[in-house]
């Protein structure tokens, strides 16, 4: 099963595609490539937007500074921001993907007695991020015309819901558990862990701050 078939199949026939990938023992490298491609491009596009904002700021302050800053700085910004954000976005998503897969796998295996492996969950959940290409299309629509931004929002929401659905199917197929249990493992459990972590950090931060500055 080729890379393109896996990407397309994940969207239109996720159950069949995930089952075939499990049978073939698909490597996580394909999933890694898909995530790197989608989120690298998304980060790059976001970086271009920030570069545009930064350039607009420099352009407005340029006359104050004797015209010294713009457009020389703009040329550099155009390349620096997209590359930096592309790499940063990929690294952050990779981390998030790793942690979420671990939580999903732990919950499915320990709580619901699933039979899948972490590598299977990790691989399938990587492909589950495919709908995020819609966010890139939405961003491009926004650049085309600001009036198309509601459509960009619609595409973004669609991507999120579609991805959640695919994450659940990924756990369901790899661990052979019911859809409800897979939903708890793939969505509720990771979200709960992130919420607890966030709450803990919010509580701990002032204490740590107080400890530092005393």
């Amino acid at each position: 099963m080729g890379f393109l078939s896996k990407l397309g199949g994940t969207l239109i026939e996720p159950i069949h595609t995930f089952d075939r990938m499990l049978d073939e023992g698909a490597s996580f490298l394909g999933a890694l490539a898909a995530v790197a491609l989608i989120f690298g491009i998304l980060g790059g596009m976001a970086g271009m937007g920030i570069a545009k904002l930064a350039a607009a700021f420099f352009a407005s302050t340029g006359p104050w500074l004797g015209g010294a800053v713009f457009p020389q700085a703009a040329v550099q910004l155009f390349f620096i921001f997209p590359i930096a954000l592309g790499v940063l976005s990929f690294v952050c998503v990779l981390l998030f993907w790793l942690i979420s897969s671990a939580i999903s796998h732990f919950c499915a295996r320990v709580v619901f007695g699933g039979e899948g492996s972490f590598a299977q969950v990790f691989t399938l959940q990587g492909y589950a991020a495919t709908p995020f290409f819609l966010v890139a299309v939405g961003l491009a629509l926004g650049w085309l015309n600001l009036f198309l931004l509601p459509y960009a929002a619609f595409l973004g929401l669609t991507a999120v819901f579609w991805t959640v659905l695919l994450l659940v199917i990924a756990v369901e197929r790899s661990h052979r558990i019911s859809f409800g249990r897979a939903f708890v493992s793939a969505f509720v459990a990771p979200l709960l862990v992130y919420l607890v972590l966030f709450t803990g950090l919010t509580w701990a931060a002032p204490l740590m701050w107080g400890g530092f500055w005393g």
Binding site: S5, L7, M48, A51, L77, F78, A140, W143
Partner: protein
């Protein structure tokens, strides 16, 4: 599963198309691919005038923008003004000549100006910028009687008086912003004064050196803020957080003296400090 590879290709294609379209939009919107900057040049040389010119009073006002002034070894050049940028309004330049004195007046609403002055006459210079920056470099080709740089509202001034530069009085004023100064072994014909004042902001004196037997004295005064002083070979007469005075040894007996007077309302003064230290 027949449609899957096609759909996969569509996904990759849409991703790349989105990236390419965004890149092209941002590239165009940021003006990276701009038309080359236009240049306009206004110059006056001695052969174009009747009668001798020994003194030039150069008075320039720019409401928004930058002025970069320097001197070249050209005895026949009185001034050359280069205006950079597209769609910049035409500056108003006029001059009158009387008894060997050429009075030049330049006014511009906005723009970036390169002003090049010659070496064959004495200059009295006054440059005022509303919002923006002024940078002046005095070298051995410059003979300046007085120089006034004034940033009326917001911006910065940079002045370098380098080895061999000849001047009597340099006066720098900035309302909100900064002044950067560098005085390195100027050619003092008589006692001279450098005076700098910023209402809100800072003054950075990068270096202050003199060629013996010339003597130098530096006074710094801050109303609210602080002074970072590195006396670097000077005798310290006074050094507090808000007031400092340093002198070269034998200042009182020196045949020619240079007094540097720095004042800041709210902000700081850094004297002979590395730039990264900033103001206290």
């Amino acid at each position: 599963m027949k449609g899957s590879p096609i759909l996969g290709s569509v996904i990759i294609g849409l991703l790349l198309l989105s990236l390419a379209y965004t890149a092209a939009s941002v590239y165009t919107a940021m003006g990276v691919e701009r038309k080359p900057e236009a240049f306009r040049e206004y110059a006056l040389t001695k052969p174009r005038l009747v009668g001798e010119v020994v003194h030039v009073q150069f008075d320039m006002t720019v409401k928004r923008g930058g002025v970069n002034m320097s001197f070249v070894e050209d005895a026949g050049l009185l001034y050359k003004i280069i205006v950079k940028g597209n769609n910049i309004p035409e500056p108003s330049i006029s001059y009158t000549q009387m008894d060997g004195v050429l009075a030049v007046k330049v006014f511009a609403e906005e723009g970036e100006f390169e002003v090049i002055l010659g070496s064959g006459q004495v200059y009295s210079l006054a440059v005022e910028v509303g919002v923006g920056g002024v940078s002046v470099r005095l070298t051995e080709d410059s003979t300046v009687d007085s120089l006034k740089l004034h940033v009326a509202y917001l911006g910065g001034t940079s002045l370098e008086a380098l080895e061999g530069a000849s001047f009597n009085r340099l006066e720098l004023r900035a309302n909100t912003g900064g002044i950067r100064l560098k005085v390195e072994r100027p050619n003092l014909q008589e006692n001279a004064l450098v005076s700098a004042r910023v209402e809100v902001g800072g003054i950075q004196l990068e270096s202050f050196t003199l060629t013996p037997p010339a003597g130098g004295r530096l006074t710094a005064l801050v109303d609210t803020g602080g002074i970072a002083l590195n006396s670097r070979g000077f005798q310290v007469v006074k050094s507090t957080a808000l007031e400092s005075e340093i002198r070269t040894p034998g200042y009182e007996e020196a045949p020619t003296r240079l007094d540097v007077d720095l004042q800041v309302g709210v902000g700081g003064i850094a004297i002979n400090q590395p730039y990264s230290l900033g103001f206290p």
